[in-house]
């Protein structure tokens, strides 16, 4: 079990409203090894965001188990979950990623401060990471002074600076043009591979899947298909095979 950073066993989430029962995620078992970057794809309502929210400890599962580094967090209370999140998980969101009144470097340092590991050497590491992400001139810029792509790169730096075991990204390229989106995911992928973290990205954009190690397609809350070699996935663009990955009606 420990050879996986992230391991879920029969993970389910069910919503009940009066007589209506919705199985948002149904018995999903998923393993992510160190240095492995996975894309969760599927149409809206397929359960991928619910899955991500459970992996981020933001949402409690109805049944099943989640282990990160072999540590279960089924029985953690809210306070313990918050601590677990800030120490073990790095998160990039679709929007509202950055604190608007903090500069790029301050946003990255925020994770160091939250984890009480801020020091001069750590601050230098944060700066180096931003430099590596090509943000030399934006280090002291506020989010409002940066483009969406630059903001996403700052968010990536923030999600990695505190050495999390798991890095999660919810549609990180949704508001970016194709060129910027590819650039952001490429950097993300490189950093996950280099630092041997487990990375999971939820995306609608199948063109971004060429940078991941595995694509998991979810349909109706379950894993429908796993593509282990997605490097040439954009070759499928425009074909029915490509459409099948994101459109369940065609399956």
């Amino acid at each position: 079990m420990d050879r996986y950073i992230l391991n879920t066993i029969d993970l389910s989430k069910t919503y009940r409203s009066n007589e209506l029962v919705v199985h948002a995620v149904s018995k999903v078992s998923l393993q992510v090894k160190p240095g492995e970057f996975i894309a969760l794809v599927g149409p809206s309502g397929s359960g991928k965001t619910t899955m991500l929210a459970m992996l981020a400890t933001l949402l409690e599962s109805t049944s099943g188990h989640i282990y990160i580094d072999g540590e279960p967090f089924d029985d953690m209370n809210q306070k313990q979950r918050a601590k677990f999140r800030r120490e073990k998980i790095g998160f990039t969101f679709q929007d509202n990623n950055l604190v608007p009144y903090l500069t790029a470097i301050e946003n990255v340092e925020l994770m160091l401060r939250l984890n009480k590991i801020y020091s001069t050497s750590e601050a230098k590491r944060a700066k180096d990471l931003l430099l590596r992400l090509g943000l030399d001139e934006q280090i002291n810029s506020l989010p409002s002074q940066m483009s969406k792509g630059q903001q996403q790169r700052v968010a990536i730096a923030r999600s990695l600076i505190h050495d999390p075991r798991v890095v999660l990204a919810d549609e990180p390229t949704a508001s970016l043009d194709t060129q910027r989106a590819k650039q952001v995911v490429q950097i993300f992928s490189d950093l996950i591979h280099e630092e041997k973290r487990a990375g999971i990205m939820v995306t609608h954009d199948l063109r971004m899947c060429k940078y991941v190690d595995k694509v998991i397609q979810m349909v109706d809350g379950s894993i429908n298909r796993i593509i282990d070699e997605p490097a040439d996935i954009d070759v499928l663009a425009g074909t029915s095979e490509f459409d099948k990955l994101s459109t369940p009606a065609l399956l």
Partner: protein, 382 residues
């Protein structure tokens, strides 16, 4: 960490927060000014009585402790001095006269107070000498009279008093100046009891005495810890008198409680409005920041950090606003004409400032609670 985030947010949005601090400053000015006005009006009303070197005042019965209505025979004062437990007693008689300043200027209304030198009721001079019984045409004036008419020790002042149906002018030599001793909204002039009875306005100019009818008797107790016993002793020994402490006496002055009640109501409402304004502002702030708070929680910020950040922000902005407001109030008060009674005492200013600083967090409690309850998933629309 909370202070760090608060300062960063305030600094990066300094124009917005500065403007809101100005709103708090205006509320502070209003509250401090009302408090100063209340203190000033109260002081003008009670300053003389409050500074009496006595613990009790003896009044005629059934006059509701009104110094104007109370009438006491001089013999009662003599009798009071012999009561066991009384260290000293002094007669006090009140009246009003005008002081002629210059030929072409309006005379100044003053309280004309008759006392017995060196007895309770006779104020101590801070310049010149204390009041004496002789010669008769001398007066001790209080600082506010001196300031108002520009008189100094050794100067002659002229009082105008109605005798019968005619206005008469009398010259008095200022032998001493006491500290502020205003009474019933007027500056004061103190003379011996016999001089007072001779020069006070009266229907019969020839009717005066060295032992006139008094208004009240100021009583200094030997043991100030058991005043109720002394009160009973006085009322048992002297007929038709009531005894009360100094505070009750000045609070019983006509209009005093109504005036202070009105000002306290204004102050209370201003505090309430301040609480609502500050509460409303920070609630809107929190509503605007819901996604940001959700994101902070999602990356692991604990609830107490979110709450502490919100509280420290309220405290910083309130503190800044109150400091500006306090300075502005003092600057404004310094420009006011001297006849506007705005006084600031350390205690009243301190209490007002502390209350103003407390209403910020009190008003912001709802917004803090709101921040506390933000669900990251909902706030991030996941």
């Amino acid at each position: 960490m909370a202070i760090y985030l608060s300062f960063k947010e305030i600094w990066r949005n300094r124009t917005k927060y500065f403007l809101f601090s100005l709103v708090i400053a205006l509320i502070s000015v209003l509250v401090l000014f009302t408090a100063g006005l209340g203190e000033g009006l109260a002081t003008n009303n009670k300053e003389y009585l409050e500074k009496l070197d006595a613990q009790l005042l003896v009044f005629q019965t059934d006059v509701s402790f009104s110094t104007i209505e109370s009438r006491l025979d001089y013999k009662k004062y003599k009798r009071a001095r012999r009561i066991d437990g009384i260290a000293d007693a002094g007669p006090i008689a009140f009246s009003n006269v005008k002081v002629v300043v210059k030929q072409d200027e309006e005379p100044v209304d003053v309280s004309f107070i008759g006392v017995e030198p060196d007895r309770p009721g006779a104020p101590k001079a801070i310049f010149g000498t204390d009041l004496r019984s002789y010669p008769s045409k001398i007066a001790l004036i209080d600082q506010s009279t001196a300031d108002l008419i520009g008189a100094q020790v050794g100067d002659k002042i002229t009082i105008k008093s109605t005798q019968g149906t005619e206005d008469k002018l009398y010259d008095l030599t200022v032998t001493g100046i006491a500290g502020g001793q205003r009474y019933f909204f007027r500056p004061s002039i103190f003379v011996s009891l016999s001089t007072w009875d001779k020069y006070r306005p009266k229907a019969d100019p020839d009717s005066y005495s060295t032992q006139p009818v008094l208004n009240v008797i100021a009583v200094k107790a030997k043991n100030s810890t058991n005043l109720s016993y002394l009160e009973s002793a006085i009322t048992n020994i002297i007929d038709d008198v009531e005894v009360t402490d100094i505070q009750t006496a000045y609070e019983s002055a006509p209009g005093y409680s109504e005036q202070q009640g009105t000002l306290n109501t204004i102050k209370g409402f201003t505090f309430l409005i301040g609480t609502l304004v500050i509460g409303g502002f920070f609630q809107i702030q929190i509503l605007q920041k819901l996604p940001q708070i959700g994101m902070l929680k999602a990356i692991g910020a604990p609830n107490r950090l979110v709450s502490a950040t919100a509280i420290s922000q309220i405290v910083i902005v309130s503190l800044f606003g109150v400091i500006i407001g306090t300075l502005a109030t003092f600057a404004l008060a310094a420009t006011l004409p001297s006849n506007v009674p705005v006084y600031f005492t350390t205690s009243s200013v301190a209490v007002t400032i502390v209350t103003l600083l407390l209403i910020g967090p009190a008003g912001g409690m709802l917004s803090i609670r709101m921040a506390h309850k933000v669900e990251p998933l909902t706030a991030l629309d996941m």
